[in-house]
Each structure stands twice: as C-alpha cells, then as structure tokens.
Symmetry: C2
Amino acid sequence: MNTKQRIASDLERSFASLGFAEQGVEALRGQADVSLRTLYKHFPSREAMIIGALQHRDAAYAEWLAGGPADGAAHVLHPLVRLGDWLGEVANTGCLFLNAWAEYPDSVAIAAVVKDHKARLADEFRLRLAHVAPGQDTGHLAETLFLLHEGMTQAARLQGREIAYEAAMHAARAALAAANIR
Amino acid sequence: MNTKQRIASDLERSFASLGFAEQGVEALRGQADVSLRTLYKHFPSREAMIIGALQHRDAAYAEWLAGGPADGAAHVLHPLVRLGDWLGEVANTGCLFLNAWAEYPDSVAIAAVVKDHKARLADEFRLRLAHVAPGQDTGHLAETLFLLHEGMTQAARLQGREIAYEAAMHAARAALAAANIR
DNA sequence: GGAAAAGTAGAGTGATCGCTCTACTTTTAC
DNA sequence: GTAAAAGTAGAGCGATCACTCTACTTTTCC
C-alpha cells in the first residue's frame, strides 16, 4: 500500500468516527501521523482529503458487498444483510457520503463522488436481480431495495440497528416474494 | 406572529436553501433582516439558531402532514404522498434534520431535536395504522413505511423525485396489501 | 556515492467567524 | 408623558482554521 492510500485510509477512519465538521486539518494530520507538508502533497486541500476518504470507503464498501449466496432471494438480499453487519461493526454515524454532502452542499466534486457511489449501489441491486430473474422487469424492485438500504442506514441511528434491520429485511423479503423470487 | 417566530421562519428557509456550513451568522442576520443584537437576543448562539430553525420546521411539517383521506390504505399512505408533494415544492437539499445532525454530530441538543422529530414521524405511521387496522399487529408495517419515507427523502436527491416517489409508493401499497389493508 | 525525491517539525499568515459592545432610535404600556 | 423594553447599525475582539514556508533529514535508485 503506498503512502497516499494509507493516508486515505486513516482519513476515512478519522472522518467516520469524529465527523467532518469537528475535525480540522491539524487533527487529521495527527490521525494520519504524517507531517502537514506530506498531507498537503497528496491531498492539496481539505476538500481533496474528504474526497480521498470517500473514494477509499467507496472501494472498501464494494469489496465488503461482494460475494454471498449465488442464487435465489438470498443472492439479492445479500447487500442488505451486509449493511446490517456493517452497521453493527462500525461506529454508526450515518452514511459517510451523505454527511459529507451535507457539509459541502455546493461542492461539485463531492456531489459527484456521492452520486457515483450511490449509483453503483443501486446498480448492485439491478445486477443481482437480473441474475436471479433474467428477462423479468425488476426496475421497481431494484428501486425499492435501494430505498430500504438508504432507509435502514438512517433509521439505525434513530431507532437502533436491530429494529431497522428487521424491518428492512422483512419488507425486502415480502417484495421479492411478491415478484416470485424465492 | 411574534418576532422570534418570524426570525425562526427566516432561519429555516435560509438553512434549507443554502445549507448549514455555507452560512455564517452575518448571512443569517441578513436573511432575517434584523440587527445582530436582536438575532442574538432571541437565539443566543449559532447552535440555538439551528435548533430554532429545526423546531420551526418540525411544527410546519406536522401541519403539512395533517389531514388526508379518513380511512383505508390511502389514510396510511397520506404522509408519503405529502412527502412527495413537499419534495416537489421545496428546494430538495435532503432532510434538514439529518443535515443539521451531520454538521453537529456532538451536539446533544441538536441530536435531541432530530430524534424527537423522527420519532414523531414514525408515530404518525403507527397511529394511522392503528386507526385503519385496530387490534392488528402492524409494528413491522409501520417501520417499513418509515424506512420508505427516509429512503424516499434521500433517493429523491440522488435519482430524481419521480423515481423515488414511484418506487416508495409502489412498495408501500404492496406492503399494505400484504397485510390486507386496502 | 551522490543526486533527487520524499519525508519531518513546526512557526507564521491572512482570512473568517462567532460573538460582544457602544451609541443611538423606536415602540409599547400604563 | 414617560420610562422601560426592544429595536438598529456596525465597529471590534479573540480565537480558529486552512494553508504556506523555512530549515533540515531520510529514503530511493541508478
């Protein structure tokens, strides 16, 4: 792993646990354990540091999602199950991407990274549905699963992970059953 | 309407359209068209201004939700329909409450307002379900509708309001039909 | 072995921002 | 009518913050 990637990883962990607003560049420098000059060499502005952290998480989350059962409803539900695991294992401060966007609503670059990440996530459901029900129109279903994914992320902070996970899985299974995917 | 409420209304509109981070106290003062001294008299810190704006929107949203068809599935779906209207009419910058929380993750007072607002929203679904299906266990269903509500809010920014609205309504109707609520 | 690249430490700078304060005017209430 | 309350205008303060710069050391690579 090169220096830039290692710093990006530290930045991601730092932003995820303490949020964006509460942390200045000096604090980030400390977490990454590099000099200010090196930090700025790889990430020439605070915004670039945030983008680097988001891109790092984007890659990590894609890896986290991969795999699971090869067929049937369980194949489609796998990303939701994994999100449930994720929410249980990492500090639950909501969606890192949406939090970043909230902090920099005018940044075109950050908005692009966020939309890109979410589009890839929505595609994940489309691909898995196409694999399980080839030829079938599953557009609505993919959207529904994406809505439940986003809802679960936020609801876990508000009402507890268990409640959000149970409700999302229950609703997702019902939606798949209604489309004869079992 | 007294001065404080009028200022709170201006603050809400201001935060909603330009976000939290991008706007300092001087800009807020300008939007509310009052002197700095008066602004601080009613809201003694920037955090208090944010809380005031959130409380104002909480009340406005409760009023916005009220009413709708008196019975059947349409009674339960009414809040989702209204959210669809809301997303079409106001600048869609995501959920004001979650954005505020993202900006001040350590503020106990802000977290309390956010959780309070969301709890009231979840209760809205529970109450409407209890009205339509008295005696029936609709806990899961209420959670599902809440997830779809939260998911719709975010997905509307990411994929467009129409897609998010269609998907959420479709999923919600299916969930109600599965519980024999029509 | 030596030059270039990449790193460290940390002081300094300019701008911004939340908030206070002074001096003055208008409105409200009895 | 008058006193208290509430408002305006806006300069100024202290702190913070993103970012730069100087001086020096270590690592890499042919």
